[in-house]
Symmetry: C2
Subunit: 116 residues, 2 copies
Amino acid sequence: MVNQPKIIHYLEAPPQYPFQGNTKVRMRILIGEEDAPTYIMRIFEVEPGGVIPRHEHPWEHEIFILKGRMRVRIGEEEYEVSEGYAIYIPPNVPHEYINDSNETVIFICTIPKQKK
Amino acid sequence: MVNQPKIIHYLEAPPQYPFQGNTKVRMRILIGEEDAPTYIMRIFEVEPGGVIPRHEHPWEHEIFILKGRMRVRIGEEEYEVSEGYAIYIPPNVPHEYINDSNETVIFICTIPKQKK
């Protein structure tokens, strides 16, 4: 229903857990393929010790960190990010998320619907 | 440089202030047209008493509230939103933001690059 407004608290969105087999990672779709025409919005919660292992795909990510701290590897570079950081990950670049802190990290991760 | 990663804290991004003549509204572009291929990410800070008046355009918004509380009017409906809410505003639907609280509200607002 692309022409309908949607208002949702993230905790109302059903969690996908574990996320792709990662038992310390929870993902919720906030604005999905059926809601919006161009790109979708998800939220991730990564518990202490949680990792989303290195992977790549032909579409980009736009991310915003809401809480916590993690390391992000993009290509051969590593960055430490925390609340208030925005991250752009280009298409076809391997990336990995590592929460080696003592706190759950929460971030928004958007992706285009059109998987190039 | 669509093929380059970008990592930026929102306070590093230069503010556009006042935003479209609204003296209590500050906007920063986090991931811009030159950074990303499909959609862009902005952050808004709306001070107490700040308003972004009713307007409409042929592209959608996907929003996530980081802090504070505000009223959003979408079409003829009004919603109260606060930290943790995601909002989808469809294309061509009038919308308005009203911060009548005592606290600055901060939200992410993404838009497609392709202005239909």
